[in-house]
Subunit: 212 residues, 2 copies
């Protein structure tokens, strides 16, 4: 599958390298793609600017920083996002008061909703945002994979497809579809607790599970 990942930090690189290793045609998008060329050659992914990356992907990931996501997606080009599934893994974290972070959104909004409002033609599916990048692509790193992946968005078919792909690609088993994109606010709100637990345990290899 032709996949574009917008954002070239740890999350983008981790997802990109894993999907390339699975044989997908990956492009990683950055404002400074030239800095990534050595790494990209090693792992077998293409690099491009945000617009080229969005044009490349039949399926897109938003792996940019939460405070820069809307601007980055504008650079990617609204026309390139229309009718595409956009997997949003970003979090609107506010580190201005130190650790653990707060949220940049008020309680009646979320980054997922902001992105869906700004790009109404995209099929935004919010998921994977409640964990470390290594766990996103290897849930078996924690508890033999017995954790919960939250999925939400406005297009049930897109949500189901993303759940199917994440199960096939990375081995996710416990996938909980919470409903429309407005439910991003309840899930983004648990990320500060994730950071707090990471500080407490001293490692990022843990994960939320809804025992039921």
């Amino acid at each position: 599958m032709k996949i574009g990942i917008l954002g070239s930090g740890t999350v983008g690189q981790t997802i990109g390298a894993r999907l390339a290793a699975l044989g997908h045609d990956l492009m990683l998008g950055s404002r400074s793609p030239e800095k990534l060329s050595a790494w990209a050659g090693e792992v077998g992914v293409k690099v491009g600017d945000l617009s080229a990356t969005a044009a490349h992907g039949e399926l897109l990931f938003n792996a940019t920083r939460g405070d820069a996501s809307i601007a980055a997606l504008r650079s990617a080009g609204e026309a390139n996002l229309n009718a595409r599934v956009l997997i949003d893994v970003a979090n609107p974290l506010d580190f201005s008061a130190g650790m653990p972070p707060g949220l940049l959104v008020s309680g009646d909004d979320s980054l997922g909703e902001q992105i869906q409002r700004a790009f109404p033609g995209a099929k935004v599916v919010k998921t994977l945002n409640t964990m470390n990048a290594a766990v996103m692509v290897s849930p078996s790193l924690v508890g033999d994979g017995d954790q919960t992946l939250f999925v939400r968005g406005n297009d049930p078919a897109a949500q189901a497809e993303v759940g199917r792909l994440l199960a096939e690609w990375f081995g996710w088993r416990d996938i909980l579809d919470l409903g429309d994109i407005s439910t991003a606010r309840e899930v983004e709100a648990i990320v500060p607790l994730w950071v707090l637990v990471m500080m407490k345990l001293g490692r990022p290899t843990f994960q939320f599970k809804i025992v039921r």
Copy 2:
């Protein structure tokens, strides 16, 4: 042990009935204690007003509604709270915009901190607030008890004592002490997700676990 439970809703009644069944000397506090007399006689707990209940308990629970907790604790009397362990199970939920609720506090505050600031002599330990009342006293109802109980407060000895008591009374096994009372903000923030999952599953018998 002489225990006072401030608040006589489902949470207060559930905890009170269980602790009375375990042989403790329980008083349940309400603004209208006369309404509880039939129930109290059945389950073997005393009832009283908030002040009498706070005076009764060597250990206290705040099981009032989050939007009324500070006022209820003022009625209970600051002198009655001084030097006591106060287990705060309340949540600052805002149902004004419907379900799932938002929070009544901003991201840089929590009800746990508000209570600790208002009653600096109390040893506030926030815990049990991330679940249904039936699960608080019977964690084995969900996943054979394999869930995580978050505990936080400013007095490490009080936190350790509360953890020990909740393990002994109710069978809690996976107890995660997150640090000082400021960490109440990260944990209270996951309660709207709890409500959302309850709406999705159609039942309250599930619980958060930190798989690690």
